[in-house]
């Protein structure tokens, strides 16, 4: 039985994690079907980090994310229909079709601009923390970024500034390089860093730093909650490294649905994990792991799980319908929003 958040919170986590999973599965299908172009990045396998971390924030807090943003946006409560529509470049998308998969952003939920420039997120988030500190209202900013961001010098500058000025920033580093093959082997980039222990980097600047199992939602939530409360009381920043083993589908250069459509019955005993990805299903899939814990609650829980899954699939199916039915933006609107309209007028 898990310690930490109560069962109610676990169900809330699972609901969001499953929503992300079904969303991402749909994204792969849409890419395969040729509904959008270009490179994209999935959050599958990292739901156990983003959801409980973001759940620990308050409404007034700020966030910044990266090219791998889908999960973060949904975890914070953005509309999945508007998310899919954005990925398809539709007028109804979160960014009106101007951003695409790499730049999903929901300002009204506190997101700063979603930068696809590695290192962009972490440094913008320090600006968010600066604003929180100036405001003196106990708000904080969370940066959710990949391990690769620590290859960029600006990240290091940003950590130093946050440390110097004691800014309320939670640096949530999602290290998904374990198991990744990397560019050298023809796959997606994985960490190219001389450090064998990334926590030594923030620690060299005196930043409080912890490592957590990113598959374990409860552990992530507990660590994040502690970090946030330190930041709110002026004892920030805090650096968290969440270890999330690379999902097989995110290892090749172009994502693929390596582990198939997630079968929740693997958590409830209705299906038995086998094959090449057996270990993934049994240990590393954060959705199955949390579902399994909840399924331990007995038959009622198993029913609730399957009802939740059905509702989630329905919600995502509706979102996909909405997105696919949405219009493309009118071409000439491309000239709008270079500047705030009243200023350029």
């Amino acid at each position: 039985m898990p310690k930490g958040p109560g069962e109610k919170r676990q169900w809330q986590f699972l609901e969001r994690m499953l929503l992300i999973r079904r969303f991402e599965e749909t994204v792969v299908k849409m890419a395969t079907d040729g509904h959008f172009r270009g490179h994209y990045h999935l959050y599958i396998g990292q739901e156990g980090t983003g959801v409980p971390a973001i759940a620990a924030l308050k409404r007034k807090d700020f966030l910044a994310t990266t090219h791998r943003n889908h999960g973060h946006i949904l975890a914070r409560g953005a509309d999945p229909g508007a998310g899919l529509a954005e990925i398809l470049g539709r007028a109804t998308g979160l960014n009106g079709g101007r951003g695409g998969t790499i730049h999903l952003c929901e300002p009204k939920l506190g997101f700063l601009s979603t930068s696809g420039v590695v290192g962009g997120c972490i440094s913008l988030a320090v600006g968010g923390g600066y604003a929180c500190a100036q405001r003196r209202d106990g708000s904080v900013t969370m940066a959710l970024f990949g391990d690769g961001a620590l290859e960029e010098g600006v990240s290091y500058e940003a950590l130093n500034i946050a440390a110097l000025w004691h800014l309320p920033v939670i640096f949530m580093c999602e290290n998904n390089s374990a198991g990744a093959m990397g560019m050298a082997k023809g796959g997606y980039p994985s960490l190219v860093h001389a450090s064998k222990n990334l926590l030594l980097i923030p620690k060299s600047m005196g930043i409080k730093s912890v490592r957590v199992d990113g598959v374990d939602a409860a552990a992530v939530h507990a660590a994040t909650t502690r970090a946030i409360s330190l930041c709110r009381s002026g004892r920030g920043p805090v650096f968290i490294e969440a270890m999330t083993p690379r999902w097989a589908g995110s290892d090749p250069l172009w994502p693929e649905l390596a582990t198939g459509i997630t079968d929740l019955r693997m958590a409830t005993g209705g299906a038995v994990p086998t094959g090449k990805h057996q270990a993934w299903f049994e240990h590393y899939d954060p959705v199955l792991r949390l579902a399994r814990e909840l399924a331990n609650g007995g038959e009622e829980s198993v029913h609730r799980l399957s009802a939740l899954d059905e509702a989630t699939r329905k919600r995502i199916a509706d979102a996909a319908d909405f997105a696919l039915a949405s219009p493309l933006p009118a071409p000439e609107t491309a000239l709008n929003h270079v500047f705030v309209q009243e200023a350029s007028a």
């Binding site: 951003g99 700063l112 913008l124 600006g127």
Partner: protein, 325 residues
């Protein structure tokens, strides 16, 4: 009317903006460089001790902090120091500040103001003499402001700090100490409105920043020979007041563009191209550009002088423009 230095007006603008808007803060330890004006900023630190930050030598990080803070509702003024160092923050300027509003379909704003000391300062050599704002003109989404007088500095800085858009404000290092007339009550000046700094019938000269006083000196010398220069100072490159420039050319038929950037891809080229495209019918003679030649800036004074526009070179170019066509 009294006189004030550009530097003093700049500090006045910052002080007034900080007093009237609690969201304004300053990230930058030496907004006026290391020269004699630098102590003018002391009163900012004294009066707003919690809102003036001496950051590390981390131009990219400092700029990013400004951009992020502006997205979260603040109005930071980020000083990047000597303009050549803005190159270290180039991605934050172009990839982040300039595009955030557009990329979110207008849902986010990034009302940060950047400042830097540009220009050939006298002995700055290749790494302390640049004017990078010409390059930024090719990064849509940034307002670009280059005042030439104390009054313009005050008025444009107030507008920059009130603007909902990201703004790059450049001050020529050699302008800081120059005193010009200011009215008793200085006030904000809207962007996109050129100022005709001198009226004249014979030739239109377009210039910004330090080149404006240089052109005024040249114009006085030319006036002695009966040549009347009309000097247009756009004051902001983005937005650009094309109309005033083209109208002036429609009266004079001749255009000389003066700028301290290197020739290729510089400010002078953009103004020249705009008029060659949209004011062609008014032109009686080739457009003339007075700029730095395409070399880095050398340290030694005779070399530096050789490559830098000055009143004599400007006057000579104007005479040439009047002979041609």
């Amino acid at each position: 009317m009294s006189k004030q230095s550009y530097a003093a007006a700049l500090v006045d603008a910052l002080h007034d903006a900080m007093r009237s808007d609690p969201r304004v803060s300053i990230i930058g330890g030496y907004v006026l460089g290391l020269g004699p004006q630098r102590t003018l900023t002391d009163r900012l630190k004294q009066d707003f001790p919690d809102r003036v930050f001496d950051p590390p030598t981390s131009e990219a990080g400092n700029a990013a902090v400004g951009v992020g803070a502006s997205m979260a509702g603040m109005r930071p003024f980020v000083d990047l120091g000597t303009a050549s160092f803005s190159y270290l923050a180039w991605s934050q300027l172009t990839n982040e500040a300039a595009v955030a509003h557009y990329m979110t379909n207008g849902r986010l704003t990034a009302p940060v103001t950047f400042h830097m000391l540009h220009g050939v300062r006298g002995g700055g050599a290749a790494q302390h003499s640049q004017s990078p704002h010409a390059m930024l003109w090719n990064a849509p989404g940034l307002e670009i402001v280059a005042p030439s007088t104390a009054a313009d500095a005050y008025g444009l800085i107030r507008t920059a700090l009130a603007s909902p858009n990201p703004t790059m404000l450049v001050s020529h290092a050699k302008l800081l100490g120059i005193e010009t007339e200011v009215s008793e009550k200085k006030s904000a000046i809207p962007f996109g409105v050129a100022d005709i700094k001198r009226r004249g019938r014979d030739v239109t000269v377009v210039a910004t920043s330090l080149m404006v006083p240089y052109c005024l000196t040249a114009a006085e010398a030319l006036a002695k020979d009966g040549i009347e220069v009309e000097l247009v100072d756009p004051r902001t490159l983005v937005p650009l007041d094309e109309k005033t420039i083209i109208e002036s050319v429609s009266r004079t038929g001749r255009l000389v563009v003066v700028d301290e950037c290197p020739l290729r891809g510089g400010i002078a080229s953009e103004i020249a191209a705009t008029v060659a495209e949209r004011g062609f019918k008014h032109l009686k003679a080739p457009i003339v550009r007075v700029t730095r030649p395409d070399t880095p800036v050398p340290f030694s004074l005779p070399l530096e002088n050789f490559v830098t526009p000055d009143p004599e070179k400007i006057a000579a170019a104007v005479r040439g423009a009047l002979k041609a066509g």
